[in-house]
Amino acid sequence: MTKIVRRALLAAGLTLAMAGATPAQTPFITVSSTTSTQDSGLFGHILPLFRAKTGIEVRVVAQGTGQALDTGRRGDADVVFVHARAQETKFVEDGFGVERRPVMYNDFVLIGPKADPAGLKGQKDVAAALKAIAEKGAPFVSRGDRSGTHAAELALWKTAGVDIEKAKGPWYREIGQGMGAALNTAGAMGAYVLADRGTWISFKNRGELDIAVEGDRRLFNQYGVILVDARKHAHVKTKEGQAFIDWLTGPDGQKAIADYRIEGQQLFFPNATQPGA
């Protein structure tokens, strides 16, 4: 019995080893990033350009910003590419990241059903809009997943003077999922939702959804990139990771970001050289 089991285990191990073997490994790095950069199609556009230039393959794991930073903290990624300034600063201060560099920005938009139950038509002030949603108890979908967009949403409720922990009721629906899933849910429920413009532009299942509020400067959305510190995780591919960051924040990468368009609309605006970004 034990002999049979031992032999079977050996055979199984060999099968796994053979199945996992890949011919002539190309150099690659793992980047933990956000659902917004992936769902918007940005990576599909810029990563082949980087690979053509350097021969380095970039493997992107798309998560919410909070989870993406955790992935870096555990050492499961070489580079983190996210959008929540406060969390990024803390990541570097805690010694997990070498340095945070600004990459690009876009903006958030408040999306809502065309029926406009909270009466936001013509509203330019996002704080006033959120206040109206809370007061009327109009359905609102929250990411609820510690993502950058979720962090931005929570900060905006605060700006609007709404204590969301107290104010939340059946109208406030935390779904704990990515940007695209939140838009799908909002569409199905006829709810409002905060989205990044990149995902919104590339989103295909709009149905009855449309932009309710945009253009408020408080809807600014900055992305940053951080190399995971090899002093915390020795296996981090510092050289390749730094090459990716240098490319992304250099002229070629910045141009590639600016060139990414869907139906003529630019999704992200490079600003790596802008001081304080």
Binding site: Q38, R59, V60, N184
Partner: protein
Amino acid sequence: MHDVGAAFAAAFRLIGEGDAAFFAIVGLSLRVTLTAVAIAALIGLPLGAGLAIARFPGRSAVIVAVNALMGLPPVVAGLILFLILSRSGPLGGLGWLYTPRAMIAAQALLVLPIVVALTRQTIEDLWSEYREHLASLGLTGRRAIPTLLWDARFSLATALLAGFGRASAEVGAVLIVGGNIAGATRTMTTAITLETSKGDLPLALGLGLVLLALTLAINAAAFGASRVGARVAGAT
């Protein structure tokens, strides 16, 4: 109804255009799932047969546990393996996280209880029926296992198909340990999840139709093979 029509159009377009990225996804799905089933079979068939024949204290408890593990939620299996394979976990040094190996291991973990449990039941029934006959041929205890496995091969093929179905349909485990990385760990099911979240529902459903067709083809092939096998076995 419009969506369903668009989904079929998307499915045919995916196959017809011969898109390399799409075939890489299909290829990876098949490779991961079939390898996982093969590993689960190599371990699970002898283990299940052994469990059918062996008598030891606590055997009933083991059988109940194995049967219960058939219902192991994929997301839990994925999470456990994730914690083990993470760079901060006990086997982090292997560097398996976010690679097909981790996905194979996760699916093998899900399929194994199915293979063990169904093998155990099949062999135990066979064993109680032919025990004396086999003993008269000098096959007692563990020496009867190869004969029993061979005689039950058609029933066991169904057990493996059940395992294949579980592995090819699941998304929770491969999403967590694979990371749905384009060109590296994206499978049919994680691609469907991604396209759904991008709001491209016809493409997502189109991918689903292709996956269904593949599963159907594999089951048909297995059924055909067992038919031919049964005829050959009957003829000799």
